[in-house]
Symmetry: C2
Subunit: 224 residues, 2 copies
């Protein structure tokens, strides 16, 4: 197993000026609120999401949310950003490229990926208008996935398993791109079968490792 650090330090300044007396702000519920925001975001998208929905789902008052985040936009950016913590901290190292790729196929990882893509779809139309949101999405969802593939390809290259002039940058994006396409547009599940097809019929053949770019056992479907 290998370390792969993707999380940066958490820079919240808060800048509390003079808390002389009384009760301090209870930050213990922040994660629940952000989680509620992500749920609503995944279900309804950015524009369909209302602060009331988030507050209701988190069983919090609307005022409480505005005490912590200045606007809906900041809440969403924060919610998206908090997703990046603690994912892919440890990745497999099986000794072969195929082994590494196959070892990444786990039910939990599949389900998690599907949810992240739903969230991405929900904020899609905002991305072009909010660089902050765009960056948050990139750091939390996009980059981590490609990063893992890049690592696997580089290691295979160092081992001499694949040629040294492989286009790692392009290839490491192929499976994430196809997964996004499949979930958001085709609305088909990103299941084990699909991921294995990607590995054995696209990735490995493309790096010269495929025994053949074979189709699965059943005949290829003909209709659209």
């Amino acid at each position: 197993m290998t370390q792969l650090d993707l999380s940066g330090p958490d820079s919240e300044l808060e800048s509390e000026s003079s808390p002389k007396l009384g009760r301090k702000r209870d930050h213990s519920r922040d994660p629940e609120i952000l989680e509620a925001a992500l749920e609503v975001l995944a279900e309804s998208g950015y524009d369909g999401m209302t602060i009331d929905m988030v507050a209701a789902r988190a069983k919090a008052g609307k005022g409480t949310l505005y005490r912590r985040w200045a606007s809906k936009g900041e809440l969403v950016v924060d919610a998206v950003a908090c997703m990046k913590r603690g994912q892919y901290d440890v990745v497999p190292d099986t000794g072969t490229l195929r082994g590494d790729l196959v070892a990444m196929i786990k039910p939990a990882s599949i389900e998690d990926g599907e949810r992240k893509l739903q969230i991405m779809a929900g904020v899609m139309s905002m991305i072009s208008r909010s660089p902050e949101l765009s960056d948050a999405i990139n750091d939390a969802i996009i980059r981590p996935r490609a990063e893992v593939n890049r690592l696997f390809l580089r290691r295979a290259m160092e081992r001499g398993e694949i040629a040294s002039d492989i286009d790692v940058e392009t290839l490491s994006l192929v499976t994430p791109a196809m997964a996004a396409y499949r979930t958001l547009i085709l609305k088909k599940p990103v299941d084990r079968e699909f991921l294995l097809a990607m590995i054995d019929h696209v990735m490995l053949p493309a790096v010269g490792l495929g025994s053949a770019a074979s189709a699965p056992a059943q005949a290829a479907p003909v209709g659209a």
Copy 2:
């Protein structure tokens, strides 16, 4: 060149009951209105788009729009659907898979594709809530692209240029998926260089035709 019909008959019933006298509805401006809708959609997304914006851009009255479409949603579905007319009516047939794929790289086609992807981003969050819109997007943007690749791969297979057990369904989606990913998420241009990299470093190697899955002349970029 080969025929590839993707457009179905235009089933508008209109059902005008009794136009006994007076002026008939002027449908000559419908395309301008739909075009205006697509422009606004690409710029502002579904939720950011207002009927007033579309009416203003088409230099039409809001009432005129509602006389033709019952709601904003129907207007958008219609606008998206009307995109599918007359694209890829004719596709190249060069005799080799690479020749066919490269022949599809044209500046006009690239620009057109970019615009379509912007529109797709704009309606992304609506797709999961409107099956009609989802179908329209699929028919107008997604399917045509994959269809061309499928045709190229099938022809190459019939020629014996590639193995008969290639996973055509998966491979025909790889480039469209990567193009969407690149435009919508990475926000990089889908230019000739990228498309050539897809052909020479992914598609052809994956079907066993690559001389090698080589990186381009310049060294592979290292940073994210």
